[in-house]
């Protein structure tokens, strides 16, 4: 057996996989940012694919059913799960974010059907880019509500 031949072949495949991962990362990766970080590094994020999480402020939701244009503001929530847990869980963090007027906020525009779960104090996870007007243009909008189905423990009970 000519080991070298197979070794070269193996290295070639390895190089191809690395190339695929690197090339794909350049074209398709998304930078996960919080609203705070977005507002701080406004200049650096132009043209990048961003993934932003924030708490929806219910009073700002507007929906134009003719053009399917949805606008709303989101307030800053921490990006780290451990930090969210430390502050009393997702529901509490979202609630605090919405009632605290000093939190940084951004406006969001999304074109599409109004999602089922869109409401005050829901968590929005948005993929898109920052416009030059300081508005976040979302291509994709995922919503999470801490409903009774998603929390493992009922309000009146806590796990041992």
């Amino acid at each position: 057996m000519k080991v070298n031949k197979f070794l070269v072949g193996g290295l070639f495949i390895l190089a191809a996989v690395v190339f695929l991962i690197v090339a794909s990362s350049q074209a398709n990766s998304e930078f996960f940012m919080t609203v705070d970080e977005l507002n701080v590094q406004n200049a650096n994020v132009a043209g990048k694919n961003l993934r932003v999480s924030g708490a929806i402020i219910g009073s700002t939701i507007q929906y134009d059913a003719q053009t399917l244009t949805l606008t709303f503001d989101v307030a800053h929530v921490p990006g780290d799960n451990a930090e969210i847990e430390a502050q009393g869980g997702l529901a509490e963090v979202l609630h605090q974010a919405v009632i605290d007027p000093s939190r940084s906020r951004i406006s969001v525009i999304y074109v599409g059907p109004k999602p089922d779960l869109l409401r005050d104090e829901a968590q929005a996870i948005m993929t898109g880019h920052m416009g030059e007007d300081g508005i976040f243009y979302a291509d994709e909008l995922l919503l999470k509500c801490p409903t009774r189905y998603e929390e493992a423990v009922p309000e009146q009970a806590s796990s041992n």
Partner: protein, 745 residues
């Protein structure tokens, strides 16, 4: 009472499992066959025990014992009985018991087989299976007790296994109920299917470890577990497909697969399992790849445990995070421990597992199988990198970077393309032969010309191609795939030219009638190529049989498959994969969507379809605490009336008065044909006015072939895995060793 009984039985089964580990280990050390027999009987006892415990749990679920925390969480009075039973695996605590139950069933089945020739394997198989079982039972007994009750104490209400001081049992009036998204037939069988797949991969692993410990370097362990592996693979594959179908029917985003971390967690053992299924054939036929097969089976086992952990731990937020828990570190510890121990065993036996024959040619069948394995491993590496990407990027650069479906599609699609091409040429290659013996010598100028042509075409149309594909790496990758395919087709030209001409003609036809997208055209070319080669293999073999056996076509066809189940079952699986590829290409490349608000009588149009909004109605179903809103739309293709669709929005409530909405659910109306699916979602509506409703409409071309392919896939695997005594004799060995007939399993 019932709960205490169920919990007690669970503890007893843990003790029995631990005893079986200890007795088997002692039996080996003392060379005592009565002790090993005792371990075997203990192993057999676990299944009835866990079944009793499970029945106790089902009794509690069905009879609304909401003082049990698990029952409270997954059922409610409004749920029908069959859903209360299937709620067994609707939450973390129950699904761990379900896992243990399946594990003990499979371990019992395997200990019941005839062990005459493989006595020395028995204690080690028992040890590995029982340790795995004991681990899962420990999780249930210590951390995730499904029988834990809710207790009221001065500090509040909490779930406890044993009553804390100063407490009374707390019984809520009603349970929270199973998430409505999970109340779907697909979701009722999807988790058990996946779990069946996961659990049955433990058996090949157990035998592999037994082979390593006993130092049997032959392929006996592979022969014993071959069918287990196939069934495991079938269940896992079907679990994946059912999950996709559920997403398509229920989640209402017009797709079936989102490269969600949890989906990938179930996909990764499938990848190693598929590689394993292929590479064991080389060990059987040629005595090569022994170390590699060990690595694959160890990896598959680790990924199975890892997958169970990911799907049930909630560490990764995803559509699958229906359950949360604190058991993550223990799962990771168990995975790490099994990896270390099994890899240490492998390193110990490494020199004894050297190949019996040499790989002579880069174009022999075993070399192509090796390439197939490397490609599957490459897909695995990409999936793994994608899952850990956010963690790694945060450590390396401080910025949290995530990757989504486009990332996975971009980086895996060239590998899938190469795998498809291998499906076309591997059946044409031969075991062990060098290229000189079978294939004609290369004509270098001709090969150079064949390779230069695509390069030239790509150079000339660089700009247009970059625009079409979207990025320059994509163009480079498309070119690389074309070059690799062209070079190999030239080398195999004598065998493949007919299929290649057919594929080329089909591709040109599709170019003028269906699509100019180069990625899609590469895909369709490969699909036709594989189908043509595979069908020709069937055709040739059937004709040969007709001539030699004087049988008619149908009889020859049936007997051909019956006598070579593994081979032709495998080819049927290849064909089914190509049908699924048609569906995937269709929905991925050509999905169209539109959305809009229309008044009654108005219509939306998309891809030649007209969707006319006719009516809408809303009503309550108090017993199930759900409100249905159903729209009626008429659909037309051109002027031709096709029928009506009923897209629906269900809103679930937490109370019988229907005041507190909890979970909405969009059920699409779907008009399905071989050509495409018209997938209509009701998005929004004006309750009391005529201004109408908002719809989102997808046209998903060819997606039906995905489901048709998966049915054929099922048939193919069943043919390949069907118990059959003759098949073992039929797989004659090519290697220079005395041929030993072995009994079927």
């Amino acid at each position: 009472m019932i709960a205490d009984f169920g919990y007690g039985i669970l503890v007893v089964s843990l003790v029995v499992a631990l005893y079986s580990v200890a007795a088997a280990a002692m039996g080996v050390i003392n060379k005592s066959s009565p002790l090993i027999e005792s371990a075997r009987r203990a192993m057999l006892l676990t299944w009835p025990l866990i079944s009793i415990s499970a029945l106790a749990l089902i009794y509690l679920l069905v009879n609304n014992h909401y003082e049990i925390s698990f029952v409270y969480e997954v059922t409610s009075s409004s749920m029908p009985t069959y859903l209360k039973i299937t709620a067994w695996w609707g939450g973390q605590a129950g699904s761990l018991v379900f896992w243990s139950w399946l594990m003990s069933a499979f371990a019992s089945l395997v200990t019941l087989r005839k062990w005459d020739r493989d006595r020395e394997f028995l204690p080690y198989v028992i040890i590995v299976a029982s340790i795995t079982l004991a681990f899962f039972l420990t999780m249930s007994v210590v951390f995730e007790n499904p029988f834990a009750r809710l207790y009221q104490t001065p500090e509040g209400i909490a779930a406890h296994t044993f009553a804390p001081a100063n407490s009374v049992v707390f019984t809520p009036e009603d349970g929270r109920g199973l998430n409505p998204l999970l109340r779907h037939p697909g979701m009722i069988i999807h988790p058990p299917m996946l779990y069946l797949g996961f659990v049955s991969f433990v058996i090949p692993f157990a035998f592999a470890m037994a082979a390593l410990i006993t130092g049997r370097s032959d392929d006996r362990w592979i022969r014993i577990t071959r069918r287990w592996t196939l069934w495991a693979w079938l269940f896992l594959s079907f679990g994946l497909v059912l999950g996709g179908r559920w997403a398509y029917d229920v989640l209402g985003w017009g797709g079936y697969w989102g490269w969600d971390p949890v989906e990938i967690a179930a996909f990764m053992p499938w990848l190693t399992g598929t590689a394993f299924l292929h590479s064991v054939m080389i060990q059987e036929k040629r005595g090569q790849f022994k170390q590699w097969n060990m690595i694959l089976v160890i990896l598959t086992y680790a990924l199975v445990i890892f997958g169970t952990f990911l799907t049930r731990s909630g560490v990764l937020s995803s559509v699958h995070a229906f359950a949360n828990s604190p058991i993550g570190p223990f799962f990771m510890g168990f995975v790490a421990l099994t990896l270390i121990v099994s890899l240490a065993l492998l390193i110990w036996r490494w020199p004894e597992l050297n190949s019996e024959t040499e790989m002579k040619s880069m174009l022999s069948r075993e070399a192509l199988f090796l390439l197939n394995n490397l490609l599957f491993m490459s897909v695995l590496v990409i999936c793994f990198v994608g899952v850990i990407y956010p963690l790694v990027s945060e450590l390396a650069t401080g910025a949290k970077v995530t990757v989504g479906p486009p990332w996975y599609e971009f980086s895996t699609s060239p590998l899938f393309a190469m795998l498809m091409f291998l499906m076309a040429i591997a059946p044409l290659s031969s075991w062990g032969l060098s290229s000189q013996e079978k294939l004609s010598n290369l004509n270098k100028p001709v090969l150079g010309g064949i390779l230069a042509l695509p390069v030239l075409v790509f150079a000339i149309f660089w700009k247009q191609l970059t625009f079409m594909i979207g990025s320059w790496p994509g163009v480079v990758i498309a070119l690389a795939v074309i070059l690799a395919v062209a070079a190999l087709m030239y080398i195999f030209r004598k065998l493949i030219w007919l299929a290649a001409v057919l594929a080329a003609v089909s591709t040109v036809y599709l170019y003028f009638t269906y699509t100019q997208n180069i990625i899609a055209l590469i895909g369709f070319f490969l699909i036709v190529l594989v189908l043509a080669v595979t069908i020709r293999e069937f055709w040739r073999a059937v004709r040969a049989r007709q001539n030699s056996q004087q049988e008619n076509f149908a009889l020859a066809f049936a007997r051909l498959i019956g006598r070579n189940r593994r081979r032709y079952g495998g080819y049927i699986i290849h064909v089914s994969m190509m049908l699924m590829a048609v569906g995937i290409l269709g929905i991925e490349m050509f999905q169209k969507e539109t959305q809009g608000q229309v008044a009654a009588g108005e219509a939306l149009t998309i891809s030649g379809y007209t969707v006319k909004f006719e009516d809408i109605a809303s009503w309550n179903n108090p017993p199930e605490q759900v409100n249905y809103t159903r729209a009626v739309v008429g659909i037309y293709k051109g002027d031709q009336y096709l029928g009506q669709l009923y897209p629906r929005k269900d809103m679930y409530f937490s109370d019988r008065q229907m005041l507190n909405p909890t979970q909405p659910m969009s059920i699409p109306g779907n008009f399905s044909s071989f050509k495409d699916d018209l997938y209509v979602l009701l998005v929004d509506w004006e309750p009391a006015s005529a201004s109408g409703a908002t719809f989102k409409i997808y046209v998903n071309p060819l997606v039906n072939w995905l489901w048709i392919g998966s049915l054929l896939f099922f048939i193919g695997v069943v043919i390949a895995a069907w118990p059959d005594k003759e098949a073992e004799y039929a797989t004659a060995r090519v290697r220079n060793k005395a041929y030993q007939p072995s009994s079927a399993d």
